[in-house]
Point group: C2
Chain length 292, copies 2
Amino acid sequence: MNEADFLALLRPLATHPAARGFADDAAVLGDLVFTHDMLVEGVHYLSDDPPGEVAWKLLAVNLSDLAAKGATPVGVLMGYTLGVDTAWDKAFVTGLSCALEHFETALLGGDTVSNPAAPRVLSLTAIGRSSIAPSRSGAQAGDALYVTGTIGMAGLGLAELRESSAATGENVERYRRPTPRLSEGRALGPIVHAMMDVSDGLLIDAQRMAAASNLALEIDIDAVPIVGEWMAALTAGDDYELLFAAAPDAALPVNASRIGTFAWGTGLTLCDASGPVPLPNPLGWLHQAAAQ
Amino acid sequence: MNEADFLALLRPLATHPAARGFADDAAVLGDLVFTHDMLVEGVHYLSDDPPGEVAWKLLAVNLSDLAAKGATPVGVLMGYTLGVDTAWDKAFVTGLSCALEHFETALLGGDTVSNPAAPRVLSLTAIGRSSIAPSRSGAQAGDALYVTGTIGMAGLGLAELRESSAATGENVERYRRPTPRLSEGRALGPIVHAMMDVSDGLLIDAQRMAAASNLALEIDIDAVPIVGEWMAALTAGDDYELLFAAAPDAALPVNASRIGTFAWGTGLTLCDASGPVPLPNPLGWLHQAAAQ
């Protein structure tokens, strides 16, 4: 059973409106927003990634989901599997402390368990506050699709680290220390029709927004602000930019690239200046396909 | 580094009042209560425990923390490591569905990750609503210590399962399907000075309440409603009864046994009809010692 199959099994359990049918990045209860993401050693980060960077990433990937809901972080709860490497654990806490301070949020609680023989499994629930919390399902026919920042650097960084764990540079930095677009998310909240973060890859995440909105989507790949080779960039995860649908004439409060158009229908299509382009397979980073 | 050492490292990160200095079962933000507990295969449950019972336990141990804050469950977010055993995953979801229905709560979201080679690590954040949310640090000198129900059955059940994984009966049932004392917690909320659940063992949890309240505590072990041998019962975990401090003349809205008295000073002491009794070592189930 893959993660999509498991999510399908779980969907009948989303009986509360706060769950948004598991079709969103976060649960929304009144003006509070909740998200819960895990990192598994060797799956979501490399075993020799510095522990302080792992702590940053654990926090950042969750705050990115809050950003996509236009939320301000309130606090987090963490689940931590304590290993046998005390230096690692200490460096992790130091990194977590810096990251919490950087994002002006706090650790509210959590749980520590023993799991010495196995890969580390880190879980985090982030709580945020948002008066708007746009869903990923609200895109309208005729809306334009936009993305903030650039796409592909984190994927390049991961590839460089797989070549050499001593790799450094801005791509590696982007992979290890993603920046959740919190201020951009808050600014965009009032004007977007749908918003989500790009965590598993631009194409797979855009496809999810179109499907959740019951619309077709065409992406002009020439318009995507890509770093590196286009197919790798469009299908790599971990960029944590914001992807949003808004009216094509909306005045955007942040810098973003217009990369596609929603229309009545279903399905994702790609084009460039010369015409239609076949979809890559897979569309994105399926290891990270998440319940939310 | 053990879990207490790790918690000490984390404590400076509890900069938000909602964290209650990590000295409580849950974080409290307005009228919302949050708790996050993990279960690790082979640590918190046995590998051959039925998957539906594991789902029940994952939910129940978190709802027990809500019960201790007098809260009504609102919903939960779950983190799940998907393995290679599809039948197990399906049975888990069926059990989770039953348990959510039983406790009248809903899955709001979460995350699914791949971790095929390793023990399962399950995480859950439970969200509840409580207008009172008693802490574990509010006991007053002269208060009596009370416990609901009986203590020791879950420990006996675990011992029976370790003898034979085919063991059945009420002790095994108690170990696998604990009952969070939600209605008792709500009834007790307005009259207690401090409350927590008994998850790691009566003595270690009572010691934590006394320490958090800056008081000494004497427990009359003859008064504890024990099932089985006294030392095993007092130090075994997983009973999930409520332990609370209240005025000795308070009218209790639920059945509970008066088992001790708080006084100025520090430390836990035990006595029986013949006088002082030495403390057992360890006092409780340290594998489960949790950040909350």
